[in-house]
Symmetry: C2
Subunit: 225 residues, 2 copies
């Protein structure tokens, strides 16, 4: 299915500035798909020559660790996915899977590159994105390994609240097992800590629905490790 990219409501700052020519090129060289929760967007180990634009929805980036499936991070539309593999070995080094309903555009790598070459704003935007990701990965590296479980869980909840949903109340788009693989702990610990937070009145827990009642406490817990 092809759409007119000129009509796409999800354009970023830079893509808004693309020339009609570039936009036409995009329109004619991309495949747009609607996905449902659980659908695979990128699969580790497979061949790929596409860059993927996540138009709407949430996805998890994950890969096989030595013992468990590791969830590296949760990403939110709009964002580009798969540049590392497309630029590098062409074999995907990680998987991306929708964790909500989502819409994605598969963009041919050559088309993507030619647009990149033509458009400085777009290039800067992509580089900025990489820079942001690199900083995030540094901080994650320092925090995840040094903090205790309660601290990491608090961080994750604050992330969902502040960055993903921008609301104190949300439905966790992950099972406890997945949550554990994101936060580097065991499924049982996730269950226990969530119950504790609920018992202490820090969150209200109802199935996968979470309401943050006391953000200050969560921040405290995050800082104490």
């Amino acid at each position: 299915m092809q759409n007119d990219c000129r009509l796409c409501p999800m354009k970023t700052k830079a893509t808004t500035m693309l020339s009609d020519c570039s936009l036409d090129q995009l329109s004619n060289n991309h495949l747009e798909l609607k996905l449902k929760k659980g659908d695979s967007i990128i699969k580790e180990g497979t061949y790929s020559t596409n860059v993927i634009f996540l138009r709407t929805g949430l996805a998890k980036i994950h890969l096989a660790g030595p013992y468990n499936e590791q969830i590296v991070k949760i990403v939110k539309a709009p964002t580009y996915l798969g540049l590392p593999t497309t630029f590098g070995s062409k074999i995907n080094q990680y998987s991306v899977t929708a964790i909500t309903e989502a819409e994605v555009c598969y963009i041919d790598l050559q088309v993507f590159l030619s647009i990149l070459d033509e458009n400085k704003e777009f290039t800067h935007e992509i580089i900025q994105e990489f820079c942001k990701n690199e900083l995030e990965s540094f901080h994650r590296c320092a925090n995840r390994t040094q903090k205790l479980i309660r601290g990491n869980m608090a961080d994750a909840l604050l992330d969902f609240s502040d960055k993903i949903f921008k609301s104190d109340s949300f439905i966790l788009p992950l099972s406890q097992t997945e949550f554990a693989n994101l936060v580097d702990t065991s499924r049982e610990s996730v269950s226990r800590v969530l119950s504790e937070f609920d018992k202490d009145g820090i969150i209200r827990l109802n199935g996968r629905k979470i309401e943050i009642l006391n953000k200050k406490s969560l921040i405290m817990i995050s800082q104490n490790g």
Copy 2:
């Protein structure tokens, strides 16, 4: 001190292709320094509008974690440093410190950007570098948190051997405390595991000099966690 970048022996593929004009611009807008072990290259929390080119030597990228100084990774010349902070907040989010003698060039951000804009090859090289780093950070994320200490130490030793020194025999450019902060463990555990590896004939340890005697064993240990 200013040097003629046209004579720089450490140019990468892309910088070799820069126009004389760009190279002159570089030559006139950079500061070259010789550093000794322990000298700071980038300091967390300080203001910066430079990109840094590490011409020769090794450096550690590190930042303050909630409890310890966390070493994120060891980098080797030639490489660019400081792009994330320069592109983003202008306040350095992490430190970089020489761990051997090193030579660095401080390049004004605006000059760096104008060269980036002028030169597609160079842009691609930078983006590729980011992609490689992102993949590395994903793998680190999955491995460091899932493996046991012996596995992580084995990984680190293999990294030094294969990627940094390209030799089975090298002098660790880190104290055990630093090594611990790189490998996410305690100083005492580093000491113990290194002794174990020595006792088992996997490495020969002599002060900070390490000789890898049995790489196969190290790989085994790495895989067993």
